[in-house]
Subunit: 223 residues, 2 copies
Amino acid sequence: MKQILVKKNILGTNNEIAKKNRELLKEKGIFTINMLGSPGAGKTSVLEKIIKSLKKELNMCVIEGDLYTTKDADRIESHGIQVLQVNTGGGCHLDALMIEEALSNINIEDTDFLIIENVGNLVCPASYDLSEDMKVTVLSITEGNDKPLKYPSMFQRSEVLIVNKIDLLEYTNFSMDDLYEDIKSLNENIKIFEVSCTTEEGIKDLAEYFKEKIKEKGGVVNA
Amino acid sequence: MKQILVKKNILGTNNEIAKKNRELLKEKGIFTINMLGSPGAGKTSVLEKIIKSLKKELNMCVIEGDLYTTKDADRIESHGIQVLQVNTGGGCHLDALMIEEALSNINIEDTDFLIIENVGNLVCPASYDLSEDMKVTVLSITEGNDKPLKYPSMFQRSEVLIVNKIDLLEYTNFSMDDLYEDIKSLNENIKIFEVSCTTEEGIKDLAEYFKEKIKEKGGVVNA
């Protein structure tokens, strides 16, 4: 597995670099998502389920953001798809320069679906455009339904919300009604998927949704 | 409830201000903890349990860090103790200047135990000394046992780790053995408490531990 170590503070204008990356991704017809959420929300687990559902039909690639370790990238690599680790060296988010460097280290000619898994953090990563087509936030039931109002930026800026660990709903005081009410008050157009990586409930619908988006972007789906 | 709105970037040297705050807290015999953890780890719930256990014996005060809302402070205020909201206006951590301002807005003469609940974030708050006697990190079972190695700074810098939501252990693939092995490799002196805010398991021991620390600092315990 390839690995990029980010040793210094990144300078330059994030949005300008993101714009350049976005042009490249558009030219190559690569549909790109930026996966966001708290540590332990289940971003990697959801990602593994999406990979299993789609890897026969699509050429997928994952950029894994993490502070120091390759733990998540190791999990992704075990599924036999292209993965690149970006270590921030303690930094709390990925930025567009890291993605620019990552894109020069992966085989983009053979990629239809690029998934960037950001550092686990419900605050800082929301502010950085990574050239994605959509921000996808994962919120787990066990975090509590009060999180959208407490950490609004990420939910306001996401096109998709994945509510994960719904198999644990009955053991918590999480209110799905309150979640929907709060999230719609922040972002009325957000698309919500309720999933469980344990029971696989909701995974198929989620994968189908991404497949449609990839087709729209011009990616090749060998269905 | 009082509320501080932090509108601008904070300048000045965090450590110098923290040192000054620490001298004041020492002079007044106030034992201070900085509670850290991911969004949804259960910091506020654990804090509510500690308050219920100790409020008759001690004069407690809570400084609640949050991006925008007073949701957690409202929960704390319902227990009838002094609470001060610090809103960071989107900022991802508290800093010593915010604590300095907070200390001038609370009745420190009547405080034996000061609890600062930081913004939910497993990365950024680890770097900021808030003048605390100890950093206390809350990690919930549902976040997974891989978090200490993935986000090491906070675990390396904490004197206490509270492993929360142990009532959900049986519904997850969390390995307590792996957690202990990893955490001890990062910080062999860390004190670990396993608790559940649902069953109240482990809460009494945790409260007793803090009570002893408060006595050592010179706080008055009316036992």
